[in-house]
Amino acid sequence: MSTEITHDTAHDEHDHHGPAKGLMRWVTTTNHKDIGTLYLWLSFIMLLYGGAMAMVIRLELFQPGLQFVEPHFFNQMTTMHGLVMVFGAIMPAFVGLANWLVPMMIGAPDMALPRMNNWSFWILPFAFAILASTSFMEGGGPAFGWTFYAPLSTTYGPDSTDFFIFAVHLMGISSVMGSINIIATILNMRAPGMTLMKMPLFVWTWLITAYLLIAVMPVLAGAVTMMLTDRHFGTSFFDAAGGGDPVMFQHIFWFFGHPEVYIMILPAFGVISAIVPTFARKPLFGYSSMVYASASIAILSFMVWAHHMFTTGMPVAGELYFMYATILISVPTGVKVFNWVTTMWKGSMTFETPMLFALGFIVMFTIGGFSGLMLGVAPVDTQYHDTYFVVAHFHYVLVTGALYSIIAAFYYWVPKWTGHMYDETLGKIHFWWSTIAVNVLFFPQHFVGLAGMPRRIPDYSLQFAEFNQISSIGGFAFGLAQIFFLYIVIKTIKGGVKATDKVWEGATGLEFEELPSPPPYHSFTQAPQVK
């Protein structure tokens, strides 16, 4: 693990160190670009897998009553959908973006620990194969919600819960290794002149995210380990009969779970902070305040976890503290939205597909932020808790937030990665199709939630029927739009108009200014000088 970057040869032609041939290239690769690609494909497959389960959910909820699936199977669908989307789609996509972009953005030849990088990725397909296999086991897969509250997951969990526990352990190990790699890369391998406060915001937000990951993924590992020993080795961490407490499970889970929320959104902030200045043709407004806002969001994220537990019978003092601390987070988040809007102010804006998705992110993530503020108010949360209002809230921040930023990042950087421009018309169709569909899908869920429709239930009262039908139609349309996206991705990889090295008129950063499109397999073997 040498941290010295040496250049033993001075020749200019590095391109002949190309990738190995055949499938083994992908298995044995230690190249950050290859591993980034692997992560992104895994995440796309998981998006479609989790999306297919969402389609089953929306199909069953199209009408009141039970039409297509058994309640127990429905519970497995909601559980697996959540787990797969959080751990399989969103998180690996951001790690994939980090692998592709962080070395190119800071002028490093590769990640700091390339072999460990290979391992971090290749653990994941096995973790998800184990998780997916539980659906075919006797007693079914996990059916206790993605939050796997005890005692549902301990005393009453199906036998396959142990496979779920092992899968979570593997995902945690992968995340922790990937994060250590990213931190070591950012702190040790920046090109000369690339000071911390000159780093692109995507690098900054990922540095902070990586610290969050190494701090909370082990807590999750601890929680599932306690579950395992409760289930099989006679401990009573979460069992009242032996002096334990099931509410404590929720505390430990959300101590991981709330920072996890920011793990899924901070890199998105970095992506948006790269795209908006490019298409507004103005430098990012308030760079340093963006850095400080990201850091304060990360610190605050450790202090607000119990706002997920307002209805567990907390004393008033606790509710007040967690309510105020939660609402405090809207201040740094507001700083970010303000800075993006101010960056666009009087800019000469154009609206290519990445910009459209970025703007969609800003508008709709903010909608999700507002419903989050409502949920953060303890006295009214009693009404919203565990209703479809919560479902609407976190899908606005995770789908039109995190996922939109990932799609925006794809359109923004794919010409750089492949050397081909994507088809602008198809990209715009993808944006408008997705955006209309996603609002038809999730906006009505605010209304049924406020009217009292509980989440995670396969049947509902008649008065919710119309809104659920609208929601389901939006869901099918949104799902189809992502199949269309798959077509765009493949089409762009296979060919297209040649992209210029700078790709976008207003693009800045080492990856656009110093590297050709596509970049050579080994880029920045000579560190660039950053002014």
Binding site: M1, T3, A112, L113, V176, I180, N181, I183, A184, L187, N188, Y211, I214, A215, V216, M217, P218, V219, L220, A221, G222, A223, M226, F237, A240, A241, G242, G243, D245, V247, M248, H251, I252, F255, G313, M314, P315, G318
Partner: protein, 169 residues
Amino acid sequence: MKTSPLKLALIPVLMFGFGFAMVPLYDVICDITGLNGKTGRIQAAEITDPVDRSRTIEVRFLANTSSGLPWHFEPLVKKMEIHPGQVYEAMYRVRSTSKDKTLGQAIPSVSPGTAAEHFNKTECFCFTQQALEGYETRDMPLRFVVGRDISDKIEQITLSYTFFSQDQG
């Protein structure tokens, strides 16, 4: 200044430990604040407060058995009017419906949680495990006192016991 990945790896190791440290930490916090309704235990000799006859608090008794324990468990008195500072006795009756010897442990919980730290027991069947012979019926006493310093806002306290099976397997 170079960052060593091995030093970084210490953070996840420590945080894994912290996850487990939350268990005793949680108990301590609950103990101090009475958060999850865990009650106190005192010796009869420690009760020195004069009785506060100006206040009356209603205490309700709940009794449950968890699944897997074949017992009928009920309070003989459903509720009581009490004065803070005075010791009272409440009786519970438990009857086994199994032909075999069974073992149970009662876990108390007091609501509202803020009353828990003022709810003290001098004698309780929950202090030890209870073993019942086949079809045995037993009356079990609970002696308790509610402290005088309990908040004025509390007019009603619910004491709930759940018997959990302690039989192995």
